[in-house]
Symmetry: C2
Subunit: 180 residues, 2 copies
């Protein structure tokens, strides 16, 4: 049986950072750059949570996110050797459910609906690996956690790190003791 990998959407398959900054500027007039975000937790960066929630609840936000660089190629390669699941904590934003499903159909059509999971808490998801950017998910997952670099986790070092999708294949080989 193939080993299984759960892959997060926002910040991992979908590149959210520029879109959040652009929509935040439109909403508040405040200009921030990717560099301003680095190493700062979401709570500090967006102290007014209501504004952030308003943005994330706007129609189109999730549907129009760009695909993370290298994700399509890497996922296609992973699917040859692993059972790949997309696991997104979409439940907090009900409007995102349909948009995320449509987004996946457009950008990752090879991933079956059987392998898509929209949830809240990810702690009941049991796969061999979890690729995610949030420690709230990685710290409690049942498999091996792999931390995908995002602005809020650059100063954390308690998980294996993935800085770009082109590193994933070699990292998994190394973790499984296969010579790279």
């Amino acid at each position: 049986m193939k080993k299984s990998i759960a892959i997060d959407m926002d910040g991992v398959l979908a590149d959210v950072e520029d879109q959040i900054l652009d929509w935040y500027k439109e909403e508040t007039g405040l200009v921030m750059s990717r560099d301003d975000m680095k190493g700062r937790p979401e709570e500090e960066l967006f102290p007014d949570r209501a504004v952030l929630r308003k943005i994330l609840n706007k129609p189109g936000f999730f549907r129009t996110l760009p695909v993370m660089e290298g994700a399509k190629e890497a996922v296609a390669k992973l699917m040859e050797e692993y059972e790949v699941y997309v696991v997104s904590a979409a439940m907090e934003f009900p409007l995102s459910l349909f948009e995320k499903r449509e987004w996946l159909s457009e950008h990752f059509p090879a991933i079956s609906w059987k392998n898509i999971v929209f949830c809240g808490d990810k702690s009941i998801i049991d796969t061999d690996y979890l690729i995610d950017d949030h420690c709230k998910n990685l710290d409690f997952c049942k498999g091996k956690p792999l931390m995908f670099t995002a602005f809020h986790n650059v100063n954390m070092d308690h998980h294996e790190r993935i800085s770009h999708w082109n590193e994933v294949s070699d990292l998994l080989k190394r973790l499984e003791g296969v010579e790279v």
Copy 2:
């Protein structure tokens, strides 16, 4: 830590049988009763899968389902002792995603978005118990499967059976060796 229970929606929390029969009649003119359905697999009952898919994709189908008798009271009681998750294979019908989320907010407002999972294949869900009506889920679940009676499973006997929500509390006590 509380033990965890995953509970299916269609046929378990939501009573789908009458609604399918009513909408099927409206679509095809064919009249069937609950008794006609008993013991027959879905594939035999609805040989034209396209009609069934059409019904399940119609706006409002999932949003207007009645709550299964006794489910509200039983779930409220379970939540006192267990971590209760709702786990629905909603991904096959993308339009159902928002409707199912709304339905849960209306009928089970105490269940947090953190404890709701919409998926395809349930085999990566790891909870101590799974209450479901489909063997395709029960046969491969990681915890203890509990089969909720539905027309298509009345002749199966390889799992513990729940015929009504008012049996659940005593069944769980028995399984855990607590005197009822």
